[in-house]
């Protein structure tokens, strides 16, 4: 049981071929593109959802920040679809791997910070000191703000990894417990009910992407435009 618990998080290989590329690319099959004005149901639904999300997220940005719209929308679609597909039985979720989340978080955060530094150097540097601090506290506060700036990409990546991994592990554990308790009655009803509630809550993995993109968005907004 101990070894099998983490077996579902191993990178899938088959005959030495990296199968993980196929699994990462699979959600793109579910988002077809089309050149028509009036599409089939699937594409119309996706277009409506995308329009809703992009209007809500991009409206708070200045025009210069709105050039990031394509990047952020594909980010939210990718993470959302990958997390939701990981809820299917036996599937492998790429976002449980810290390497991938770091690879997503660090370039995006660095792009936002560097853009802010290049275009508005004084305003970006002014972020390190909140307004109205008493003078003796200034050196310490600058250090604290620098640390909190550099911890942002790590926090983004680790937050996503830890949430998804913990959810999957809990589902494994509680499912195993339910099966083991099947021979002892009346406790199983309670535990299966807990599983159901947990799965529903975990389907707010979609809320996870919302958290991801939103946090990234706030950071971008602050650094780029203020």
């Amino acid at each position: 049981m101990n070894e099998n618990l983490f077996a579902s998080f191993i990178t899938p290989m088959m005959f030495g071929l990296p199968l993980v590329t196929l699994i990462v690319l699979f959600p793109s099959l579910l988002f077809p593109t089309s050149n028509r004005l009036v599409n089939n149901r699937l594409i119309s639904l996706q277009q409506w959802m995308l329009q809703l999300v992009s209007k809500q997220m991009m409206s708070i940005l200045t025009p210069k920040g709105q050039t990031w719209a394509l990047m952020l929308m594909s980010l939210i679609l990718f993470i959302g679809s990958t997390n939701l597909l990981g809820l299917l039985p036996h599937s492998f979720t790429p976002t449980t791997q810290l390497s991938m989340n770091l690879g997503m978080a660090i370039p995006l955060w660095a792009g936002a910070v560097i853009t802010g530094f290049r275009n508005k150097t004084k305003a970006s540097l002014a972020h390190f000191l909140p307004q109205g601090t008493p003078t003796p506290l200034i050196p310490m506060l600058v250090i604290i703000e620098t640390i909190s700036l550099f911890i942002q990409p790590v926090a983004l990546a680790v937050r996503l990894t830890a949430n998804i991994t913990a959810g999957h592990l809990l589902i494994h554990l509680i499912g195993g417990a339910t099966l083991a308790l099947m021979s002892i009655n009346t406790t199983t009803a309670l535990i299966t009910f807990i599983i159901l509630i947990l799965l529903t809550v975990l389907e707010f993995a979609v809320a996870m992407i919302q958290a991801y993109v939103f946090t990234l968005l706030v950071s971008l907004y602050l650094h780029d435009n203020t």
């Binding site: 088959m14 199968l19 699979f26 597909l85 299917l88 036996h90 599937s91």
Partner: protein
């Protein structure tokens, strides 16, 4: 067993059994050939199932069920130990 259409362009289901080895050897296995085969298969599926005006959820769940089966086959080796049995 010669056929009317030249052998190279016949689809798989229309090839006669005796010609099958030569048919397999004739398909081009270059990367662009394989990619072309995948594209053709994908578009056949897409035009038949998804691109209709009022597609239903059954067709999407078919894709997801195939994905689940694919992953089950992949992880079968590690899952063999978790079958319920008396002595582990």
């Amino acid at each position: 067993m010669a056929s009317v259409v030249p052998l190279k362009e016949e689809k798989l289901l229309e090839v006669e059994l005796g010609e099958l080895p030569s048919w397999i050897l004739m398909r081009d296995f270059t990367p662009s050939g394989i990619a072309g085969a995948f594209q053709r298969g994908y578009y056949r599926y897409y035009n038949e199932y998804v691109n209709v005006k009022r597609g239903s959820i059954a067709r999407l769940s078919l894709v997801l069920a195939a994905y689940v089966v694919f992953n089950y086959r992949r992880s079968h080796k590690e899952l063999k130990h978790e079958r319920p049995r008396k002595y582990h």
